[in-house]
């Protein structure tokens, strides 16, 4: 493998990794605050991809507007799903909430998946590149990918700023670090968790938009994608957003690199196997020192 192929692979690996990272960060947001492992996350992503493609084909000039509208719409949808399905089951202890929440979100994932495949008739969606290709020496970078790369960076920076600067971001971090203490100083669990869930769903929608611009989405993509991202989140341990971000990037890069010698299918098998092995090796998270069962 010469150097330019390597860089080319690294770039596409980082793009796939960027999608994993965005999915994982959304999931980590919910896991950190609520202790919720949301299996419906990928279904939201896929639905957003299809919605964006439909809007785009109807109204091609409004791509930018729909790029903002779709995540906002999905934030509302996520908030609604949280209020209707999950909030009533939310208890003081997150431990007893984990397993029922897994069942509820799995059900939600099925409903959304079927909705997508009925509405779009089991087809695939993808968007043809709008921008030209940028050439820099022997390296080619399609414009779509460059735009996505820049937007991904911008969104993760924005998220970081939101968490550290704004009031609602601080409430969220307080709740995930010390739930009892946060409740004592008046942070409302239901309000903050609702915001976290809505934000996570919006992030899933953004990841869906990126996915549909880079690759093609099919209705059955959701669950495997969610599962991989959830593994990353659990392995990273709760209470951090940078670790899932890095984990997602690493997994995407690794998968793309492995796909060259072994083929895409084996790369997938290897990545799931690796994640499972890490999970069983250190169930409390790779970077967590003391043992806490979860």
């Amino acid at each position: 493998m010469d150097i330019s192929t390597f860089i080319q692979l690294l770039l596409s690996g980082l793009l796939l990794g960027g999608i994993y990272a965005m999915v994982a960060v959304g999931l980590a947001l919910c896991f950190g605050v609520l202790g919720l492992l949301n299996l419906a996350h990928g279904a939201f992503l896929v639905l957003a991809g299809f919605v964006f493609q439909a809007v785009y084909s109807l109204w091609p000039t409004g791509a930018l507007a729909s790029f903002i509208m779709v995540p906002v719409f999905f934030a509302g949808l996520g908030w609604l799903a949280f209020r209707c399905l999950l909030q009533s089951s939310l208890k003081r202890s997150t431990q007893s909430f984990l397993v029922p929440a897994l069942l509820i979100t799995l059900g939600l994932a099925f409903i959304l998946e079927e909705l997508t495949s009925v509405l779009w008739d089991r087809s695939m969606a993808g968007i043809v590149s709008q921008f030209g290709t940028i050439r820099w020496g022997p390296i080619y970078l399609p414009g779509n990918r460059l735009v996505v790369l820049i937007l991904m960076l911008a969104i993760s920076l924005g998220l970081q700023q939101w968490l550290s600067r704004t009031d609602s971001g601080r409430r969220l971090r307080a709740l995930s670090q010390e739930p009892t203490g946060a409740a004592l100083v008046g942070v409302s669990l239901t309000q903050v968790t609702g915001i976290a869930f809505a934000l996570a769903t919006a992030l899933a929608a953004v990841a869906g938009l990126f996915y549909v611009t880079l690759f093609t989405v099919s209705p059955h993509l959701g669950l495997p994608l969610t599962l991989k991202a959830l593994f990353i989140v659990v392995i990273s341990g709760s209470g951090s957003l940078t670790r899932p971000l890095a984990g997602g990037l690493a997994l995407g890069t690794l998968e793309t690199m492995l796909a060259t010698p072994f083929g895409a299918n084996w790369a997938n098998v290897l990545s799931i196997g690796l994640l499972l092995a890490c999970l069983c090796w250190r169930p409390q998270g790779l970077f967590v020192g003391k043992k806490n069962t979860c």
């Binding site: 399905l85 079927e114 599962l227 959830l230 069983c280």
Partner: protein, 303 residues
């Protein structure tokens, strides 16, 4: 004291159960002769559901884990049986082979899996199921890849049906015996509190490993029966999510951890499936989804 009580009332009740099950099995054996092929296939499907639900209950009900990997052993059994049949083995031998080769797989997997608890255990078992499907479609030399394995048509449909009856009988009575046995009580006490169970001297690791093995073997045989009945095994069906999720729903629908709970759940759900899904074929998944949401909300209220 609990154990002696349980073992004390064991023989009489077990006798009754065995007699009633055998009588119903003999009656069911007559069904294909009376009502023909449709009735046989319908009953066969219901019997498979019963095997899957009752064996699922050992880990999902008695032990109380949220377990999403039951379909892994179903798929494994389906492939092993299909391969054995392809090499000219008779059906009973093929099924036995499937059961015997699932045993070490379940035993090996139980070591890493039971390091995990709760939701992470559920995720890992779901991951294993996906991994099984991926492996089956990536090994075309052995499994025929995504195109699957096809078998010659079933020469003795009645043999398959009677074996299904026999295995159902065995699975249900094993479950009943297990509920009343020391191991069953150990599993229930681990469900209540693992630390407490360990502190009174229960080897929880051993109990959980045994539970997974006892649960996996009938599932593999159900998979084998399925492979023979359909004569066609593909990864998407053999390792499909439904094979894990349907038993879970059947088990949780009534009273998990009892023999009658999953039995009744399997009867009700698989009959309902037959009639609802022939009417609304495109809403299969949503129906599962709604049931999952419902059961999850119920569970959250209880805990």
């Amino acid at each position: 004291m609990l154990i002696s009580e349980a073992t004390g009332r064991q023989p009489k009740q077990f006798g009754l159960l065995l007699i009633s099950l055998s009588v119903s099995a003999v009656l069911l054996l007559l069904v294909p002769n009376l009502w023909g092929d449709y009735a046989r296939i319908l009953l066969f499907t219901i019997l498979l559901s019963v095997i899957m639900a009752v064996s699922y209950d050992v880990v999902g009900g008695l032990l109380g884990y949220l377990y999403l990997g039951h379909g892994l052993f179903f798929g494994l059994g389906a492939y092993i049986t299909a391969l054995a049949l392809k090499h000219g083995q008779p059906l009973p031998v093929a099924l036995l082979l499937a059961a015997c080769s699932t045993l070490p797989v379940a035993a090996t997997l139980s070591f890493p899996l039971f390091r995990l608890h709760g939701a992470v255990f559920a995720l890992a078992t779901l991951g294993l199921l996906l991994l099984g499907g991926q492996l089956a479609s990536n090994l075309p030399d052995v499994t025929g890849g995504a195109a699957g394995l096809s078998l010659p048509p079933n020469p003795y449909p009645l043999l398959n049906y009677s074996l299904a009856l026999l295995i159902t009988l065995a699975a249900v009575s094993t479950h009943w015996l297990l509920c009343e046995s020391t191991l069953g009580l150990q599993l229930s006490s681990i469900q209540e509190s693992e630390d407490m169970a360990e502190s009174i001297g229960i080897n929880s690791g051993r109990a959980k490993r045994l539970a997974l093995i006892i649960s996996a073997v009938p599932a593999a045989m159900a998979g084998g029966l399925y492979a023979r009945e359909i004569s066609f095994v593909i990864p998407a069906e053999a390792f499909g999510l439904e094979n894990s999720l349907a038993p879970l729903l059947m088990c949780l629908l009534f009273k998990p951890g009892t023999t009658w709970g999953p039995l009744l759940g399997a009867l009700v759900l698989s009959t309902a499936q037959e009639f609802i899904w022939t009417t609304f074929p495109s809403f299969r998944l949503s129906l599962y989804g709604i049931l999952f949401v419902f059961i999850g909300m119920q569970r959250a209220k209880r805990s």
